[in-house]
Symmetry: C2
Subunit: 340 residues, 2 copies
């Protein structure tokens, strides 16, 4: 298996990206193609211990900056690293793409290059949250805003298949993120979606609320990308702030400092349990290829984890399950209402 | 000062409500009027140590259940406890209202009874989050969905005045909750709002993201009520889940158990620092009266804290500042664009 990694994408590219690839390759047993400026990549490779078996460079001359407007740029920059990475996937030279670059550009490059799965209006981003009772998948976390009810319904189908086939959860419980549990609650978008979801080919349990993202009583939570993006960034900010406040409180007296020293290992374990970066990034669902989108500020460890997630996605055949599931849904001509 | 407390509102009313009032009255030095069924309230009062000076009962015959549809019910139930509580405020018999009941009904009762402040299209709910660098106010957390840009703008004005006059923060930094910092980001609602906010009578710093709710780099965050409601419930769920996971991890070995025992006081302190229930509830802004809306599941301590927040709101004259500020804004005839 070969995974194409966008070496030029991310706030600290190509340094941390190359480092993550160097850690991932021996540990995960996959080949990695680093896509980007070969001189820069070579320099980082030699810094990190030199190029070994299983790591190749695929040179390209352009890149998309983090603050560039994706759609304007992509049509001009055909040789941008993220375009080239997805082109490798399209030509069967790579099984998956991993990027910590401009996420709008990554989604755009996927759509322009490998294209959407037939019938999918909008690809979506899914993340896996750790919960007290197990993992919870939130979809969409920012690929779309102003999502239509029909598109939310597609997210439900994709989220269900993804959760079942990647996380091995049978018949996952699917909910719509809303501000109350009753059917009539929320904005127009989710009120219409609620009626559609009742007819869905999945285990729809109704509306869920913000607190359920961590409860574990629901395994797939469907949301407009605006709301999902706020939610995912909020949890990051909260985890970080709580960590700072916790350590500050623990350093206030001799006894608690000693106590904190005693629990430091368990505390590190706890932190890695709640770190959603453990799966490395968000999964791009609905395109004809496998894409993992990491944070711009990803560490080498997060890049390594993203490569692992991409590998598992491929090994478990999640992409085939998605395409089959969506085809089945299309063939049923689920177009009963204009509201969709 | 007299504060009207809806004794019938909340999942565990009137028990915890009466208990909270009994704690609040001597500690905070305010008079409290418990509104509701006098027999039930009397029973709880005698259980809690008996009625003392400073606590009165105002009997009424009806109540709104947690799951009743507010607008249908309020016009019929003129003698519902929440209607009667706001009526006391309207007639000058109480300076503020506190309720842990059906929040839609509380907002509806306020609008029907004391009415909106002149020119305010939509009252909004504000909560105060603790952050690593100080408090952050999020407005709206669920009074409205499908909010128009002009209404978001009003939330900005109210949030600014509230933060300045209740929390003593001079010239607070005001941001719009969005999925990226650049002006063109987000859904239509926030893109238009971004242009309006630039002309606002406050210190607008642009878009902020989910993680900024805890960063403390912005003090007022304006949001549609749908997104704000998801955010506030998410933080509650996450704090709870992290607490469970933390304690689980800490109990796994003798050393960490001992360490955890040593830090237990600092840990309790930390938990109360991050507990947004410390301010007791959400503030209803934009109506001609002071209202604090608590969680249905509020503890007596949360009720007491809500009564304190209501008291501070009155002492600091926040209501007058809001009415003055909104009047000034109206007189400027800020109606330059249809988009509002």
């Amino acid at each position: 298996m070969n995974i194409a990694v966008d070496a030029m994408g991310g706030d600290h590219a190509p340094g941390v990206i190359v480092q993550g690839a160097l850690w991932a390759q021996p540990e995960l047993g996959v080949d990695i193609t680093l896509v980007g400026d070969q001189d820069l990549i070579r320099r980082e490779l030699s810094r990190g211990g030199g190029i070994g078996n299983g790591i190749q460079i695929h040179h390209c001359s352009q890149m998309v900056a983090m603050d560039e407007s994706p759609m304007k740029v992509l049509r001009k920059k055909k040789d941008a690293s993220i375009m080239v990475a997805f082109d490798l996937a399209k030509r069967g030279k790579a099984e998956a793409v991993v990027s910590a670059g401009n996420s709008g550009a990554t989604i755009g490059a996927a759509v322009l290059t490998v294209g959407r799965i037939k019938g999918v209006e909008r690809p979506a981003l899914a993340v896996i949250f750790p919960g007290a009772k197990g993992n919870v998948v939130l979809i969409d976390v920012g690929a779309n805003v102003d999502t239509k009810p029909r598109q939310l319904f597609e997210f439900g189908i994709m989220g269900d298949i993804f959760t079942h086939s990647l996380l091995n959860i049978d018949n996952p419980r699917v909910g719509i993120l809303n501000i109350g549990q009753e059917g009539g609650k929320g904005n127009e978008q989710v009120r219409i979606a609620h009626d559609l979801f009742k007819k869905g080919p999945f285990n729809f349990i109704g509306n869920v609320e913000g607190r359920d993202i961590f409860s574990g009583d629901v395994q797939v939570i469907v949301s407009d990308g605006f709301v999902g993006n706020v939610a995912v960034k909020l949890t990051e900010g909260m985890a970080e702030t709580m960590g700072i406040m916790f350590e500050r409180e623990m350093s206030k007296g001799l006894i608690s400092r000693f106590g904190f020293w005693l629990i430091r290992r368990a505390f590190e374990k706890f932190k890695s349990n709640i770190d959603y970066a453990e799966c490395g990034g968000a999964l791009l669902l609905g395109v004809k290829g496998v894409g993992v989108i990491c944070h711009g500020i990803s560490s080498p460890k997060a890049i390594k984890n993203a490569i692992r997630t991409a590998r598992d996605f491929v090994i478990k055949g999640v992409q085939d399950r998605l395409e089959e599931g969506l085809a089945k849904f299309q063939s049923k001509a689920f177009n009963e209402t204009d509201a969709m």
